[in-house]
Amino acid sequence: MRKKQMMHVSKVTSIALDTVEMVLKNKEVSQTAVPGQFLHIAVPGHTLRRPVSIADVNRDDDTITILFKTIGTGTKELASVKQGSELDVLGPNGNGFPVDTIKPSTVLLIGGGIGVPPLYYLAKSLAEKGCHVISVLGFQTKDYVFYEDQFKAIGKTYIVTDDGSYGHKGLVTDVLSDIGSFETYFSCGPLPMLKAVRHHLKDTPGYLSLEERMGCGIGACYACVIPTNDEVGYKKICQHGPVFKSEEVQL
């Protein structure tokens, strides 16, 4: 049986403008989580839970790292949670990236803003499998850039900012041409970015991690559906996703 998990908040750090890194300890969750899955976190004083991706896992000390941006009341409240307290969490939820099916090869990771977090644990996992990982990470401005060093430690990493205040100026798709050949791509970020990425890389197999406003977070309420090209015609992001084959969904 699945259950609500109480996760111990063992560290809260501000790592960039409006961006928080939180380390959560729980054996069951950390031992089972795979890249691309998310936690559905209960936030005090809020009706709905908040979905947040698993950004890193440390199986040795049973911890999971999440990285989130404080955009509204829920994430602000979450950011104010003190070290030592407990969070009520559902998870790991959803289907992550198909790491097991990827053969050692060159892979491209493309993340935008709050879409970057899930790519970190993915990058680590793929590198472990012997993949050659190249990352393109987009942020609004210099102040929002995070985890640059962590990604660089894994492989070549391009940083892109909307205003050019750091790294390349423009959109993540602007640098795709500079990158050599790769077999598979993985992308997570705002819908317009995913659309552009998919269009640019239409001839390359890829996986997209999607976002949508959620209710239950487990597949029961039909809040988070995305139209698909199969006979069923739709899938639930919280349950069948958040990761989908690029050609599978209608963006």
């Binding site: 049986m1 699945r2 259950k3 609500k4 209960a42 809020h46 009706t47 709905l48 839970r49 829920g74 559902l90 949508e212 406003r213 959620m214 209710g215 239950c216 977070g217 487990i218 597949g219 029961a220 309420c221 039909y222 809040a223 988070c224 559906v225 995305i226 139209p227 015609g233 739709y234 349950q239």
Partner: protein, 313 residues
């Protein structure tokens, strides 16, 4: 000894008065991973329509103060597919199955009811009349007493299963609606459905929900649900399944005292997937604490029939 939580309603012999509300529990599969569904008094399935529906574009939900808005748009695989794939799954559990019947025309409602009537494992129907009647300018069946009565009558004729009519709270006079459907043959009432609300998303400067409006549910609407059940109970003789913002066993008792014979829990499942079973476990102690021998013993006990001092707020 007898079970103090047991409740008998038309077509339903409930081991306890707690059931998940329609649309907040899908067809039970996901929550069956959290607990044994046999613990539930009954399960109200997600709305069924005549044919498969894809529902509304997203966003479909928004959070509000102590509540939420939803505009799912009746997404469902259609009544035939539900009977083929979902009902058998639920039938494996020792609980009652209530089918939520929806549509855009009286004919569609009747087709859905007729079809469920063939499904032996379905114990009762919940008639969701909060849908727009496309043939009559999209006005909700549930906001017009005549339309509500007509559709209740037609559905009753189409099915031998007991019919619980689910009332919409978006009306001037809930008592008139309740009496109309009772007169039309309803075996019971289910109340309340969601209140129509809206949230405007400031960054995009337009309604947050793709459907613009959505149904407000959760603790925010509980006082309205309790008031409506309290008023209706004094004017009808059919049982009431009460719902609207329930999160705890105390709140279940509040609904019983107001006149509900059983209750449904909706939005609270999203916050706590175990809420229904936790309530069921705590209910006996709560009944005892406030001096009630059983669920039945508490029904309607909070009603003061003297209305002499009702005035303007």
């Amino acid at each position: 000894m007898t079970n103090s939580l047991a409740v008998n309603l038309p077509g339903l012999s409930l081991k306890n008065p707690v059931m998940p509300a329609s649309g907040c529990f899908g067809f039970g599969r996901e929550y069956s991973q959290y607990y044994d569904l046999s613990k539930l008094g009954a399960i109200i399935m997600k709305a069924a329509t005549g044919t498969k529906r894809f529902g509304n574009p997203t966003p479909r939900v928004a959070e509000t103060a102590s509540g939420m808005l939803n505009a799912i748009g009746l997404q469902n695989p259609g009544v035939d597919e539900i009977i083929r794939t979902e009902v058998p799954f639920l039938a494996a559990y020792d609980t009652n199955i209530i089918a939520n019947v929806a549509g855009s025309t009286i004919e569609e409602y009747v087709y859905v009811a007729e079809t469920f009537n063939q499904a032996a494992d379905v114990d009762a129907l919940e008639l969701n009349i909060s849908c727009p009647n496309v043939k009559e300018g999209g006005i909700q069946f549930g906001t017009d007493a005549d339309m509500a009565a007509r559709i209740t009558e037609k559905v009753k004729r189409a099915s031998q299963k007991p019919v619980y009519v689910k009332l919409s709270p978006n009306v001037t006079d809930i008592v008139t609606m309740a009496k109309a459907v009772e007169a039309a043959g309803a075996d019971g009432l289910s109340m309340i459905n969601t209140l129509t609300g809206m949230q405007i998303h400031l960054p995009s400067c337009k309604p947050l929900l793709a459907n613009q409006t959505g149904g407000l549910s959760g603790p925010a609407i509980k006082p309205i649900a309790v008031r409506m059940i309290y008023e209706v109970k004094q004017h009808v003789n059919i049982p009431i399944i009460g719902m609207g913002g329930i999160q705890t066993a105390e709140e279940v008792l509040e609904f019983l005292l107001a006149g509900a014979n059983a209750v449904a829990v909706g939005t609270a499942n999203f916050q706590n997937p175990l809420v229904c079973v936790e309530i069921i476990e705590q209910l006996p102690a709560i009944l005892k604490k406030y001096g009630f021998k059983s669920v039945n013993d508490a029904v309607g006990k909070g009603i003061m029939y003297d209305k002499s001092n009702i005035s303007c707020p």
